[in-house]
């Protein structure tokens, strides 16, 4: 029984028909229990997110402690200048977006594959074992990961260079000097760390699928492959869309640990490892300036905002229910 969202109701000019407002009020009354359920969450959002949003003005202020946040003099757009005037402005934006794009594609594919395959295993004990191991990388801190990666890749005592180079007969590589390899290294490290997390989400979605679909399909003689492509994937598609949209909303942000600590802050790697967040961090070593870091955050938010508006609009065109808002 499709009911139109309030904004979509055509407004009739005839007065006899209940006005848009009245329909709305009636609906509110009908759904008041549901709306009441949302109050704790809404209150939390206001406290945790909306009240502190006044801090955005820091991006436009030259803060001094005596006058405080509101009293400090305005600085116009000066705090944004370091981002756009830098010769790296394009590079860091490109790196951030491309890495996130690669993460979305690679992580989603691997996670989906895992979720689909785990679903095929009927042995509970084994499933449980696999699932717990996949989640392990997620709980190791990035700093520790950085040490581990270093122990594999450094030239002095390394595993890859000494062992694998011997086995496969390639020359040893000076990993922390060669920017070209790092897109691969970082994508692999990131996938290793976050695929388990994603897979669990997709697995939960697959488990939620009504078993009757499969029973019917088996009776029809559909192969496992067909069941996967015709039933499972279409039914979890909404989940995939939502996850992708959510990833797009953070496409201008980057995990500081991954891009700063894992490459060991090595200068020669910066062309392929410098992202907006690491750029800001390095800039702030010289001068910890809240105005400038807030400005960078605003820049990231604004770009993400327009990207997500676009993506959400596109999704809405195809399937209204799967859009984020």
């Amino acid at each position: 029984m499709p009911t139109l969202a309030s904004s979509d109701v055509p407004v009739p000019t005839v007065t006899v028909v209940p006005s848009r407002q009245r329909i709305f009020r009636k609906k509110i009354k009908k759904y008041r229990a549901l709306l009441l359920m949302m109050i704790p969450g809404l209150a939390y959002l206001i406290l945790n997110n909306y009240i502190p949003m006044y801090g955005v003005i820091l991006a436009f202020k030259e803060l001094n402690y005596v006058d405080g946040i509101f009293g400090s003099p305005w600085a116009g757009l000066y705090n944004f200048k370091f981002l756009f005037n830098s010769p790296d402005a394009y590079l860091i934006t490109r790196n951030t977006v491309l890495y996130n794009g690669a993460f979305i594609i690679v992580n989603t594919s691997i996670a989906l594959l895992i979720a689909l395959l785990v679903n095929e295993i009927k042995d509970k004990v084994v499933t449980r074992f696999y699932q717990s191991t996949f989640l392990l990388p997620h709980i190791i801190s990035m700093v520790v990961v950085a040490y581990l990666v270093y122990s594999f890749l450094n030239a002095e005592s390394d595993f890859i260079n000494r062992q694998l180079a011997n086995w496969f007969g390639f020359d040893s590589i000076s990993w922390y000097n060669e920017a070209n390899y790092w897109p691969y290294v970082l994508v692999i490290v990131n996938a290793w760390k976050s695929v388990g997390y994603l897979a669990i989400i997709y697995f939960a979605a697959i488990i939620g699928i009504d078993k009757e679909y499969y029973e019917a399909a088996t009776i029809d003689g559909a192969s496992k492959w067909k069941q996967m492509t015709r039933i499972t994937i279409p039914l979890i598609a909404p989940m995939i869309i939502v996850m992708t949209l959510l990833s797009i909303s953070t496409i201008m942000r980057s995990d500081f640990g991954l891009f700063y600590q894992v490459p060991m802050n090595s200068g020669p790697l910066m062309p392929t490892t410098n992202t907006i967040d690491t750029f800001v961090y390095r800039a702030m070593i010289v001068r910890g300036d809240i105005g400038m870091s807030t400005a960078a955050g605003v820049y990231q938010s604004v770009v993400c905002f327009f990207l997500i508006l676009g993506a959400n609009f596109a999704v809405r065109r195809i399937s209204k229910d799967n859009a984020l808002f």
């Binding site: 009911t3 969202a5 449980r128 996949f134 989640l135």
Partner: protein, 296 residues
């Protein structure tokens, strides 16, 4: 078809075994380094098969056992409390959003989603919590700020509700005259075990791993959680490395920092209980999923 499946099975297992090894190996390595003799680390780097074992790192850390035990207590309490409240609030917010005919649905979704994009930054956020709510040095300082309800989890749950709970079930409830809360608790929740368990797990991990709130809001040693107790050493090292060029004193401080074995032991102590508790949790998690699946 049966033949094809027979071939598939070993392949699938092989794939997963490989994947498990890749996931597990670094973890084992961290553990091995934490029990390797320091001279051996310095000589040979990290190794799965250290030439000399030594539990000195743990002895060094457990010197202050009282603090570690207390911090574990704080973490467990915060995690249990936080996970429960968080799951509750998240579900209550997500479920109405999944109802297609809810008035203000799009507005609410947007209000929620907008918080993922824009933030006022750490400073006003901190000031709000400290001055308006008074969370400084309170256990709730490690529960409420940023952790209590993640927009990401809400949207995840909303999608699950929207796509998995058949509308017919809700309609049948309405026809029976049940109110919305009853429908939610009696009909929807039991069908949503997979997502509930997943979100609970995510919350659990988030609360267990969080050290940032503890760093900001807690000054009293008796309220420090295990993750901050363990992470701060790594943070200190990272900060000092960054400042190393600027003062000769920093070099001395760095040289005095705990050894690599201790750093790895810190990582192990931070997550070990989680690993021990995980299988128990998972039992519940899997059974939750199957019961949900059966009913579906």
């Amino acid at each position: 078809m049966p033949f094809a499946t027979r071939i598939h099975k070993p392949l699938i297992h092989l794939f997963f075994l490989l994947f498990s090894v890749v996931s597990l190996m670094p973890f084992v390595l961290v553990f091995m380094v934490s029990i390797t003799d320091e001279s051996s680390i310095v000589q040979n780097g990290y190794s799965f098969f250290p030439s000399k074992l030594n539990f000195a790192s743990y002895q060094f850390l457990f010197n202050d056992f009282g603090q570690i035990a207390r911090s574990y207590g704080v973490t467990i309490l915060v995690t249990l409390l936080g996970t429960t409240i968080s799951l509750f609030i998240t579900a209550l917010f997500a479920y109405p959003l999944s109802r297609k005919d809810l008035p203000l649905r799009r507005t609410m979704s947007f209000i929620l989603f907008f918080t993922m994009l824009f933030s006022g930054g750490m400073v006003p956020w901190y000031i709000t919590y400290v001055t308006m709510v008074g969370l400084k040095n309170s256990l709730f300082g490690m529960i409420i700020p940023n952790l209590l309800m993640s927009a990401f989890n809400v949207l995840l749950m909303r999608s699950f509700f929207a796509n998995t709970i058949p509308e017919s079930i809700i309609e049948s409830g309405t026809i029976d005259g049940a109110n919305e809360l009853t429908i939610f608790l009696k009909l929807v929740v039991p069908l949503s075990a997979p997502i509930m368990a997943t979100i609970a797990l995510f919350n659990l991990l988030a609360f267990w791993n969080d050290w940032y709130n503890c760093m900001l809001f807690i000054d009293k040693p008796e309220l420090i959680n295990i993750q901050y107790l363990m992470t701060k050493t790594l943070n200190n090292i990272q900060f000092l490395v960054m400042k190393a060029d600027s003062s000769s004193q920093v070099g001395e401080l760095l040289a005095k920092m705990p050894t690599e074995g201790v750093r790895m032991a810190l990582a192990i102590i931070g997550i070990a209980p989680l690993l021990i508790a995980y299988p128990f949790f998972q039992k519940y998690y899997i059974s939750g999923i199957t019961s949900g699946a059966v009913k579906g």
